[in-house]
């Protein structure tokens, strides 16, 4: 008779990666504070901060009134006076209510004080569509902040990046807008074993998620999954797609994009934000500026239509990037 021990599942999800990052940094830095709406007693609307108030106390994990300007503005003051702050937006959509404090106050502090004051603040929150969240629980508004000098803009797509990039952002000493993809929080298919120890993923370094030779997909967030699926489908047609996950929009790792294009000569940029003045256009402009000679076909972008994100599924599917739309774009650039 033999007993087969159950193999313990050592894989962790994206949300656990975030939670570990926060608790490790809180442990490491006694001057760090977390605040936001419902982050304490409730542990966050999605549970990212669950257990932190019990562990670190009410003074360091603080439930805030529904006041995004005060959440950001007080974080600025705390950081001005020596603290490190992680501020949660309950949904990243709500960040617009704190917009002035972010773009005119927090983002510009280092610049207008000639470097006297650097603010170690991470503003983080659940982001992205594909879940039927409708207009105000689905946004990817990263372009607003990429267009506001002085902010780092980070979008992790794996559990280990969620952990390692959040820890690195907290320690960077600069204001950061950190987009957590809420569809990934508990997604089984992206669970992974997290590296042991003090996991830090450098900001400004893209990750090649799949090697390929015929076309390069440059993407981030939710669309990393779509690009990987599109690459599978293209493989069946004999087309080899490389998938680059930017992870960090500001600072941007141009070099990894250019190296890939030197090999594939074809580019499709995919993001779920609206097209006009979106980050996909920025990537293409930089490629045209600095790596035009690598291109054998006009670069394309697959983005949301220039619409809000609608609620019910047929409408949402219609306006967002999909595997099908990405495959279609890839075939266009390959067959150009």
């Amino acid at each position: 008779m033999s007993a087969v021990a159950a193999t313990p599942n050592l894989k962790k999800n994206y949300l656990t990666g975030l939670k570990e990052a926060l608790s490790e940094e809180m442990q490491r830095n006694p001057h760090m504070l977390i605040h936001g709406e419902d982050v304490g007693i409730l542990g966050g609307a999605f549970g990212v901060t669950e257990g932190l108030q019990e562990r670190f106390g009410k003074d360091r994990v603080v439930d805030m009134p529904i006041s995004e300007s005060a959440i950001i503005g007080t974080a600025v003051g705390m950081a001005l006076n020596g603290m490190t702050v992680v501020a949660e937006m309950q949904f990243i959509d709500f960040i617009s209510c704190g917009f002035d404090q972010i773009v005119n106050n927090m983002a510009t502090y280092s610049y207008r004080t000639a470097g006297e004051v650097n603010l170690p603040i991470v503003v983080r929150g659940p982001a992205g569509a594909y879940g039927g969240g409708a207009l105000y629980h689905s946004q990817m508004n990263e372009a607003w902040f990429c267009n506001s000098p002085g902010l780092q803009v980070i979008v992790p797509s794996t559990p280990s990046d969620a952990k390692g990039l959040l820890k690195a952002a907290i320690r960077s000493g600069n204001p950061t807008i950190f987009y957590e993809i809420k569809q990934f929080y508990r997604m089984r298919e992206i669970e992974e074993i997290l590296p042991e120890g003090d996991l830090l993923v450098p900001l400004g370094k893209a990750a090649v998620r799949r090697d390929g030779s015929d076309v390069t997909f440059v993407t981030y967030g939710n669309n990393v999954i779509h690009c990987l699926k599109a690459a599978e489908e293209l493989q069946e047609q004999g087309i080899s797609a490389e998938v680059i996950d930017l992870r960090s929009l500001v600072p941007l790792d141009e070099e990894t994009i250019f190296q890939s294009l030197a090999k594939t000569n074809r580019l499709v940029v995919v993001n779920e934000a609206p097209m006009t003045c979106g980050f996909a256009g920025e990537v293409i402009a930089r490629v045209c500026d600095k790596a035009f000679e690598y291109l054998d076909a006009p670069p394309l972008r697959v983005t949301r239509l220039d619409t809000p994100v609608p609620w019910v599924k047929p409408l949402e599917d219609y306006v967002l990037p999909s595997v099908e739309k990405i495959v279609h774009a890839a075939l266009r650039v390959v067959r150009f």
Binding site: A70, L80, N81, N104, A114
Partner: protein, 376 residues
């Protein structure tokens, strides 16, 4: 007087006054004369810069604090060096008046030097912000002065956050934010004071009610008689001060400081005053047209220097002869001469201006620097 459940019009009653001396009555003669000198310092800063601009030595808009000096001097005088302040555009003298008491030229004091303020006004590299943003958009973490932006009321949450961190570190600082009545209509004004009230932070919100928000009169800005009543909505005390009377401002401020330092929380002080000229000097000519003449004359008639002078005479701190010297009150910038100000005031600012004129412009390539921290 206890401010715990202070009603809006909680100015001290006659009974209280008999029982207990007002804070300004405890000031020494030396302190009172210093306060008088500081009113001249603020006024001279204003009139001298207007003259410099008219002479062509200075560019940029000037936001006059003329006629509102008692608010600044009266609120700043009772602070400790490590307290924080957050001045805005009409409070330019606050940057150097902070912690200036009896030590005008001490570079180590917890206020900015007159040299650095003049360098800022002139847009020179020796400004605290190396001339990267204009006029009052400066500050100093080291000196506990919060840097403002043009988005008014936007520094109130910053001050609240500073105080939260100070409390976490075991400190006992208070913070004072300066606001025109115009900025009280901003949403962030409410968000920040509400937060400070929830956490009982020692935040003192000074409202300089000068009756005009640029070109919009008070009756189109709010529907209250006394702004101090706004405090009721947050469960905090509010005081109304005569913003022309430096000693009344000082009295209300000392009550607010005592309340804050004893751990009871934030408060509001409304200082009723009057903007003597335009929103900025670019607006002086238009302001003379869009504001009723009688209203302007009435507002300027109660000059804070004159009111302080009368009080010092009553107290016997100025002799009749001394009180006839330095008659700056009631005059606009171009009507004044240096003889209208104490010589040490003229000398103090003149040195600052000479310093600024010699300070170089920043190197052009600095325009691309310090977007992020950590750059050398």
């Amino acid at each position: 007087m206890s401010a715990t459940s202070a009603p809006a019009q909680s100015n001290p009653s006659a009974d209280d006054a008999e029982q207990k001396k007002l804070p300004h009555e405890l000031l020494s003669k030396e302190d009172c004369l210093e306060i008088f000198r500081q009113l001249f310092l603020a006024r001279y800063f204003d009139v001298r810069l207007i003259k410099e601009k008219k002479r062509g030595s200075l560019k940029g808009t000037l936001y006059s604090s003329h006629n509102q000096e008692a608010v600044l001097v009266g609120t700043l005088y009772g602070l400790r060096p490590n307290d924080w302040i957050s001045p805005i555009h009409r409070d330019m003298p606050a940057f150097f008046l902070k912690d200036i008491k009896f030590q005008w030229r001490n570079a180590d004091r917890m206020g900015l030097s007159i040299d650095s303020i003049c360098a800022q006004v002139y847009g020179r590299v020796d400004s605290p912000g190396r001339a990267r943003d204009n006029w009052s958009h400066i500050g100093s973490r080291a000196k506990h002065i919060i840097h403002s932006t043009s988005m008014l009321a936007g520094t109130i949450p910053v001050a609240a956050g500073v105080l939260y961190a100070d409390r976490m570190a075991g400190g006992d600082a208070v913070a004072v934010t300066y606001n025109g009545e115009g900025s009280t209509a901003q949403g962030v004004f409410h968000e920040a004071i509400n937060y400070a009230a929830v956490h009982k932070l020692p935040l003192i919100t000074v409202i300089e009610n000068n009756q005009w928000a640029y070109g919009t009169p008070a009756e189109l800005e709010y529907s209250l008689e006394d702004f101090a009543r706004r405090a009721d909505g947050y469960g905090i005390p509010g005081w109304v001060a005569d913003g022309q009377d430096v000693f009344d401002v000082y009295d209300k401020m000392m009550q607010a400081i005592e309340y804050a330092r004893s751990g009871k929380g934030p408060s509001i002080i409304e200082c009723k005053t009057f903007r003597a000229y335009g929103h900025g000097d670019h607006d002086d000519d238009r302001a003379a047209k869009y504001r009723p003449k009688e209203e302007v004359e009435r507002g300027r008639a109660r000059d804070p220097i004159a009111m302080c002078r009368r009080r010092l005479l009553e107290l016997g701190y100025l002799s009749e002869d001394q009180a006839k010297l330095f008659m700056a009150e009631g005059k606009n910038a171009m009507e004044t001469t240096n003889e209208d100000f104490p010589p040490e005031v003229v000398e103090f600012l003149s040195e600052g201006i000479e310093f600024a004129k010699k300070s170089p412009l920043p190197a052009a390539e600095e325009g691309a620097k310090w977007v992020f921290g950590g750059e050398a």
